[in-house]
Amino acid sequence: MTVIFLILAAITIAGTAAAMSLRSAIHCILALTIGLVGLAALYLLLGAQFVGFTQILVYVGAVAILAVFAIMMTQGPGKTIQPILSTNWPAGILVAAAVFAILAWAIRSTPAHSTPTQPDATVNQIGAALMHHYVLPLEIMGLLLTAALIGAVIIAMPEKKEPQ
């Protein structure tokens, strides 16, 4: 357990670190994908199959592809050299330290005896909860996504030319 966790954690951290430091934008996205897959593997290690596979399906299958497509459409295959350190790196470090401090404080202040027993959340249970208890939020989400889809189609539709 711990050995596998350490390997996966190393892969995740290496992937995300590379995503921040590589020079070509496409390389950054591919490295970020490694980090996201490592995160999905960590979820699987915790026994959360649904979250793990959804992580791969959504982040690798949709988000990474979308980002890659956007870059391919706008930049072309030429190399782009960017400076590794952005000009406002002190502010970045400050924000990162603040987030880390809050998270560390939250973890520290959690009583140690409340180590959660691993919940046995199967896909069946998640599906039942979504369809019974959380059906209204699910429907609202569906409506929102449908509206977004229709909006995207309307934006992409060719405009009718006015007869002159």
Binding site: S24, I26, H27, L30, T33, Q49, F50, F53, T54, I56, L57, V60, G61, A62, A64, I65, V68, F69, M72, P77, T122, V123, N124
Partner: protein, 392 residues
């Protein structure tokens, strides 16, 4: 030996072998014993399929096909393998070396990972995942990334065009693919492939309870197969690698063994999706008649797989390639609404009492929208039969 022993012979052999291994090593050895046959069997099937496909296409196109190497040309895959191993591996100078190297590996890896949840026989599955179907579709999305990596890293206009076409096509057809399999999840109430097959392995009057023998199952099967053809970039959806337009698409800059790996990955993906179609709609490893259950279950799986492969070859030899706009129109304007209607039909089937009325209502609910939709899409287009003139 009883039929049951022959059916379970591989499972029994594996347990017998595991008995000789110390218990600390048993999980690893068990995994290896399950994975290695898959790694051997399906590439072998790929080799057989290439020669079958070339001979079949030759028949359809009124020529011989390969007939020089070995008896009836059936040793052609060996010659092809040696050829691709000994060829020079050319990498374009401006290519992105690392990504160019990783793309074929990722493609083959993703293609192989799909087999982890396919039950190829009774008690013969690598892992019975609780979320098996979700796993399969998640792995399938990694193929798109591999295809993009191949096309982008080659730094060639043709390969970039091919990658863009391939990714657009795969994203579009993933939606009907998933929606077509949703009806099975509704019917069985499970995402586990093993449970799905077991629910179909029952018989009434010696006829099986396969999902393809229901109106929604049949429509779902057709939609699934069309989407699977598009997902595996096969004709008539082979625009990403259309030879007459963009030469070989995203793998144009690959040579030697890497090219063979792309070929392998593509066929492995096709086998895996066909295997999933068999698992979902055609009853997996179950026999087509109750009096044939003595035939080992794995033989049924591979028999069904070979039939589907033959249909793929037949379609490839018969249909011309689609145009890009026709491809997208088919996915978004026809298959997406039809699969949504199919989900509704499956729900209706579930709540209506069994009988002839249920059959009539569900069939009508599928056939009438199908005809209406095709009529509607045809309007405003001047379609006519193209006449060809051949040399006499």
């Amino acid at each position: 030996m009883t039929p049951d022993t022959i059916d379970q012979i591989f499972v029994i052999t594996k347990h017998w072998l595991l008995g000789y291994v110390p218990s600390a090593l048993q999980p690893i050895v068990s995994a290896i014993l399950s994975v290695v046959p898959i790694l051997v069997l399906f590439p072998l099937l790929f080799a057989i399929t290439t020669v079958l496909e070339r001979k079949g296409l030759g028949r359809i196109q009124n020529r011989y096909g390969p007939n020089r190497v070995g008896p009836y040309g059936f040793s052609q895959p060996i010659a092809d393998g040696i050829k691709s191993l000994t060829k020079e591996d050319v990498i374009p100078r401006s290519a992105d070396q690392v990504v160019h190297f990783l793309a074929p590996l990722l493609l083959v890896l993703a293609a192989f990972l799909g087999y982890a949840i396919l039950p190829i026989g009774r008690n013969m599955v690598i892992t019975n995942l609780n979320a098996g179907l979700l796993y399969f579709f998640a792995i399938g999305s990694m193929v798109e990334l591999a295809v993009f990596m191949a096309g982008w890293s080659s730094r060639s206009k043709y390969s970039l065009l091919g990658a863009m076409r391939a990714v657009a096509q795969m994203i579009s057809y993933e939606i009907p693919l998933v929606l077509a399999s949703v009806v099975i999840i509704m019917a069985t109430g499970s995402l586990s492939t093993v449970a799905i097959v077991e629910q179909q392995a029952h018989y009434t009057y010696s006829l099986p309870h396969w999902f393809v023998f229901t109106p929604w199952g049949f429509a779902g099967f057709l939609a699934f197969m069309v989407a699977a053809t598009a997902e595996s970039n096969r004709s008539p959806f082979d625009l990403p690698e259309g030879e007459s337009e963009i030469i070989a698409g995203y793998y144009i800059e690959y040579s030697g063994f890497k090219f063979a790996l792309f070929f392998l990955g593509e066929y492995l993906g096709m086998f895996a999706t066909s295997g999933l179609a068999i698992t979902l709609f055609l009853g997996g490893w179950s026999a087509p008649f109750s009096f044939l259950t003595w035939v080992p279950s794995y033989l049924w799986f591979f028999a069904k797989l070979l039939v589907l492969i033959c249909i793929f070859i037949w379609i490839r030899g018969t249909l011309p390639r689609l145009r890009q706009d026709q491809l997208m129109n088919l996915a978004w304007k026809f298959m997406l609404p039809m699969t949504l209607i199919n989900i509704f039909t499956a729900a209706l089937w579930h709540f209506m009492p069994a009988g002839i009325l249920r059959w009539l209502a569900c069939t009508a609910l599928l056939v009438i929208p199908c005809i209406a939709l095709s009529r509607g899409l045809k309007q405003g287009k001047k379609l006519q039969v193209r006449t060809y003139r051949f040399a006499e």
